[in-house]
């Protein structure tokens, strides 16, 4: 009988092959897809996030864990799509690095952890103008729009994006979140962001609060 703690552990160790095997085993035991997703993959990734936050794990370890999670998720995805109404994502996150900024390490970590927490993630990539955030938010019916910047010179562009959203009343329900090395809470408040994530795990905790999942 499958032990989800084992999936959690294999995911933590970045052992993609074992995660795949155990996910298949759980399916063979006719465990519900949502149970495997939540108790096997999402719970495992939550531990990774927590340990990353407290410098027990670093970026390379998080990346291999995320790779293992994706391997398990790839098996579940067709089943999740088939039962989308029973297993909806926790929310939709549209995220990108703002215009003029080509850095993506932090953003990618947030993407991986948000996906690991059950969100549908739409990654716009780097160097993204405000219009692109708006288009994607409409197209994908985003619950949350995340903006990342590594440079002090590109941080102010986050306000341009926020102003563009505020000029569109029909998007008033979209939560606007910011993060990146030079960003802090004071800046986030100044530019009217709904939230600020000091690191990837904290960002995902904030997203979960935004969608009422905690």
């Amino acid at each position: 009988m499958i032990d989800y703690a084992q999936i959690n552990q294999m995911l933590y160790e970045g052992n993609a092959r074992e995660v795949e095997r155990l996910v298949r085993e759980a399916l063979a035991e006719a465990r519900p897809v949502s149970e495997i997703l939540n108790e096997g993959l999402i719970a495992g990734m939550a531990v990774v996030g927590e340990d990353f936050k407290y410098n027990i794990l670093y970026v390379p370890e998080v990346l291999v864990a995320a790779r293992a999670m994706k391997a398990g998720l790839a098996i579940l995805k067709p089943l999740l799509v088939a039962s989308a109404t029973e297993n909806p994502p926790r929310g939709t996150l549209v995220i990108g690095t703002v215009k003029g900024d080509l850095h993506d390490i932090g953003k990618n970590l947030v993407c991986m952890m948000a996906e690991g927490a059950g969100f549908k993630v739409v990654d716009l990539g780097v160097d993204q103008p405000a219009e692109r955030f708006l288009e994607a938010a409409v197209e994908h019916r985003a619950d949350i729009v995340g903006m990342s910047a590594l440079l002090t010179t590109t941080m102010p562009y986050m306000k341009v994006v926020i102003d563009a959203f505020q000029a569109r009343p029909e998007l008033a329900g979209v939560k606007l979140a910011v993060g990146g090395a030079p960003v802090n809470r004071m800046f986030a408040d100044e530019i009217g962001a709904d939230g600020y994530g000091p690191d990837a795990p904290s960002s995902v905790e904030m997203f979960l609060k935004f969608v009422g999942a905690t």
Binding site: P60, L63, I105, V126, D127, L151, T152
Partner: protein
């Protein structure tokens, strides 16, 4: 050359600080100015980073406006070696002041590639290396020999990230550690070639390796991968006659302070988020010079008086530390000159306090 501000320290004074012979009051003033150089001549980072004429003019304007105790040749300091090796850099045209960079995906080395015979760029021919080398030569001619002029080189880990891509390299650190050592060795060869050309042009060196920050890479991984190749670089530099080699890693690097000391680089950085007391204790014990930065956001958005207050506090903290240097984090493009000079004023006033 005419200076609008008090003159910089002489080379012998700089050496005395870097070698920690005594605490210097006022401390050396070394602001971190790269893309902001362009604003001294009303240009853009993309423009000055592609023209030896503009880069020279911008650096001389920076020298005249600030009178800092050292200058760095370099704008987008993490791109030059990777670009010369074949990576594509994105530039911004017209009045766009964005900083040139390598877009994710534009990397030329793939995990597992055999790099044992990979070509090393020629600094006098490839990419924009010749721009920096020529600017170094011209600026040296203008400011004279009695001044600390440094050519920016990438640290090996940061160059490896530019060549391979961040995620691929981080994953390889766990999946293919022997190959990561090979990439770092290749990076080291490229950096040394670039460094040698700077030295021939009359500049010294400064190493930037912020991608090796403990905010990304664990201290044990720094020790395994980055320390050996950085120590090798420092030894190589010493053999070329470069006795004073700064190593710049931004972010809170306190967890790898001791490892950075072991690289042999003699001028280290405690960024504004780092633990100054811990850093100072380690540098005092090891005889390393220590630069303290203040926040770039403070520098960009606060008044000169507010900046002066913070800078004075930091200067006082380092007052008795041999090798203490007052710096700034990377100055954002367009920061008012009076804001940067507030830091210099804080340094100079320490001498009369």
């Amino acid at each position: 050359m005419f200076l609008a501000v008090p003159p910089p320290a002489r080379r012998s004074e700089v050496e005395s600080v870097l070698r920690c012979t005594a605490a210097r009051v006022p401390p050396l003033f070394l602001p971190a100015i790269y893309e902001h150089k362009a604003s001294f001549i009303g240009s853009t980072p993309s423009a000055i980073s592609r023209s030896a004429d503009l880069l020279t003019r911008a650096m001389l304007a920076e020298y005249q406006a600030l009178g800092a105790d050292g200058l760095v040749v370099g704008v987008d300091v993490y791109n030059l070696e990777a670009e010369a090796a074949g990576c594509t850099v994105t530039f911004y045209e017209g009045s766009d002041t964005s900083i040139p960079g390598i877009k994710p995906g534009n990397h030329i080395v793939h995990p597992g590639d055999d790099l044992s015979h990979a070509p090393v760029p020629n600094p006098l021919r490839d990419g924009r290396m010749p721009v920096n080398i020529e600017a170094a030569r011209r600026v040296r001619r203008e400011v004279g020999d009695d001044y600390w002029l440094r050519g920016a080189i990438s640290g090996p880990f940061s160059l490896a990230i530019s060549l391979v891509g961040a995620e691929a390299l981080f994953l390889a650190c766990l999946d293919q550690p022997a190959w990561v050592h090979q990439v770092l060795e290749y990076s080291g060869r490229i950096i040394k070639a670039f460094g040698r050309a700077y030295i021939d042009a009359g500049a010294e060196l400064i190493v930037f390796d912020s991608q090796a920050s403990p905010e990304l890479l664990s201290p044990p991984m720094y020790e395994e991968f980055v320390l050996p190749v950085t120590a090798d670089l420092a030894q190589w530099a010493a053999a070329q006659g470069i006795r004073d080699l700064p190593l710049i890693i931004g972010g809170n690097t306190t967890p790898i302070a001791e490892l950075q000391i072991r690289t042999g680089c003699n001028n280290l950085l405690c960024d504004f988020t780092g633990d100054f007391d811990e850093w100072a204790a380690q540098c005092r014990a090891a005889g390393r010079a220590l630069r303290r930065n203040i926040s770039p956001r403070l520098l960009e958005t606060s008044t000169p008086d507010e900046i002066y207050t913070v800078a004075r506090r930091e200067v006082e903290r380092g007052r008795d530390l041999p090798g203490f240097i007052m710096g700034t984090a990377v100055v954002p493009f367009g920061t008012p000159t009076e804001n940067i000079l507030a830091v210099k004023r804080a340094c100079l006033d320490a001498a009369t306090a």
